[in-house]
Symmetry: C2
Subunit: 131 residues, 2 copies
DNA sequence: ATAGATGCAAAGAGTTTGCATAGGT
DNA sequence: ACCTATGCAAACTCTTTGCATCTAT
């Protein structure tokens, strides 16, 4: 898949630019809305197709947030997790991890990876209602 | 919602029984298949409606596994997390938690809850391949 | 000029809802 | 008898695909 020749269309360029400017995971819908500021008639199918292409190229990674839609972020970042605001639904990146996390597995189970998500209210959403 | 009078239909009883017999989270589709052994013509809409009712009653809780469908398990269990086998896709419950987990949040962020999922190979799937 | 990319609309999965009827209480 | 619950099908959301057209190379 990643050995196919790809063209630099206005749409694909705009989508890449969106991810480079906002440094947080985005859903397909959010990508569409942000990309529409750049390319007027861009459609949701184009967004999905480019998300898939960029995943295949290894430029994006999928962020699997529990329960919600799939989200996407630039690849190549250090191991990290996410915080989702239950008020504005925005997703933030967290630094670091908990080293003992894989110790929770039962004996005989092989842990290959883990996902960790914190939920709550982000600093921005807390402020309006006073600290 | 939970102050409404509910009736004990064959369907609802079967669904409850399914959760009581298998001690692991189930998707709506899995509930349907298991409940069909008990009640013949049960439909998917009934399953979804009852899952919602049982959630409202506090008898079930939603298990939000990343990327996949929502799953459901009996409520009232101690705080715990899950392990998903990447080979058989079965979900296991884990005991305990990591106490420092909410320290990962940025300053000013209010953490209300967290989800943690380990992925790998379960003991059953490892055994056939020796060890 | 050629072949990949786009936009639109239709098609699929998963979930929800409207409506007439069945069935607990 | 009353009124909730059910089954069916249609509606809805999110994602994918078919097809004619456009466009980067």
């Amino acid at each position: 898949m990643s050995d196919t020749l790809h063209r630099n269309t206005r749409q694909r360029t705009a989508i890449r630019k969106v991810f480079e400017s906002v440094n947080r995971p985005l859903s397909a819908q959010q990508v569409l809305e942000l990309a529409q500021a750049e390319v007027d008639g861009i459609g949701i199918a184009t967004v999905y197709r480019n998300l898939k292409t960029l995943l295949d190229e290894g430029w994006l990674t999928q962020v699997e947030l529990p329960g919600g839609n799939l989200m996407y972020e630039c690849a190549g970042k250090a191991h990290h997790h996410h915080f989702q605001c239950e008020s504005c639904n925005r997703v933030y990146e967290l630094e670091g991890c908990v080293p003992t996390i894989e110790k929770l597995a039962r004996p005989g189970f092989k842990v290959r990876r883990h996902e960790l998500v914190l939920y709550g209210t982000c600093a921005t959403c807390r402020r309006p209602v006073q600290n």
